[in-house]
């Protein structure tokens, strides 16, 4: 029966992550988004080569796979 199930999808929980990328060695680090983050902002020092990283992406990912 059409009316037996809601047509509006259930809300999924998302967590937003920030990706810091080293422009020298290409090492990528993923961490949780912090207020004030924006793409192209300087990040932490690269754990591999010590150079200044840059935020290359900010995206939301589902915390649990949908049932």
């Amino acid at each position: 029966m059409i009316g037996s199930k809601s047509v509006v999808e259930k809300k999924q929980k998302y967590t937003v992550f920030t990706i810091e990328e080293c422009p020298v060695c290409g090492q990528k680090t993923k961490r949780e988004f912090q207020t004030g983050d924006y793409i192209t902002k300087d990040g932490a020092k690269c754990t591999k080569c010590g150079n200044q990283t840059r935020i290359s992406l900010i995206y939301a990912e589902t915390t649990k796979p949908p049932k």
Binding site: Y38, I39, T40, Y59, A60
Partner: protein
């Protein structure tokens, strides 16, 4: 809105009215917020827009509900009931957008700005229109003129005015205009899917699209479009992983379009369209 029987064209008038409205809203929001930080003011402007849209939905639904009751019109209420899932979806999207705006996170709609920013990092920027910046870069012997709204504020800029400025005032003769934007997907299509086509890839009420088509047609410049598919909810909430991950594929496609459609020594105009919240340059 201006009268639409004007035989001389009303796009200029619409542009004037919309610009006046934007100026007024920004000024009033700035006064209320009392903060000089442009990110805070632009985020507040977007929050006001979301609240206005929600209020409009509420008023329209209430109007038809009360009118249906008042006139004992079953059909009016049945029509309203049938539309409710879509109306709720849109309202839910707006409510979800509020959290994203408050945290100043990049939106799904900002994918065009993300791509443009990759060409602009470390380059000198100049303002070419209201909230719109330009940077010049190079790729395989081509000179790239890259346009996007000024981030990380929640701006969409004036890409139409910007592109016209580059071509007519700066005297740049591009061999191609390539526009990157988010596009609404149909149910069944995958989020982050990429579509390639021709024509001005830009939404809105049509002013910017008109301006871009006008200048491109006048100077006989082909317009190519690269689109990243997403739903309305995904476009106005935090950028989903699938959309963000499409950026590398878009870069590959963009490079291929540049190589195929232009030759060494050519100028290419690249426009990253969309709300640039959380995306600097």
């Amino acid at each position: 809105m201006p009268v639409d029987i004007d035989p001389n064209g009303i796009v200029g008038k619409i542009d004037h009215v919309v610009t006046t409205r934007d100026d007024r809203v920004r000024q009033e929001v700035g006064t209320i917020v009392g903060d000089k930080n442009p990110v805070t003011v632009s985020v507040s402007e977007n929050l006001l827009e979301a609240a206005t849209a929600l209020n409009t939905i509420h008023k329209i639904v209430r109007h038809f509900y009360l009118l249906g009751k008042k006139t004992n019109s079953y059909f009016m209420l049945v029509q309203l009931q049938m539309l409710m899932p879509m109306i709720i979806q849109e309202a839910d999207a707006l409510v979800s957008a509020v959290d994203t705006f408050k945290l100043a996170q990049p939106l799904g709609d900002g994918i065009g700005a993300v791509i443009a920013s990759r060409f602009m990092v470390g380059r000198e920027k100049q303002t070419i229109a209201r909230d719109t910046v330009l940077a010049v870069n190079e790729y395989k012997g081509r000179k790239l003129y890259v346009v996007k709204a000024e981030g990380p504020m929640a701006y969409v800029g004036q890409p139409g005015v910007g592109i016209r400025h580059v071509i007519e005032e700066m005297g740049v003769k591009p061999s191609a205009i390539i526009m990157i934007d988010a596009a609404l997907k149909l149910e069944g299509e995958k989020t982050g899917e990429i579509a390639e086509g021709v024509g001005a890839a830009i939404g809105g009420i049509g002013v910017e699209k008109y301006q871009i088509e006008e200048v491109a047609a006048k100077h006989k410049i082909p317009i190519y479009a690269v689109l990243v598919k997403q739903s309305i909810l995904e476009a106005i909430t935090a950028m989903r992983k699938e959309i963000a991950e499409a950026s590398d594929k878009v870069m590959t496609l963009l490079n291929r379009v540049i190589e195929e459609k232009t030759k060494e020594g050519d100028n290419v105009l690249i426009a990253g369209i969309g709300n640039t919240l959380g995306v600097s340059q």
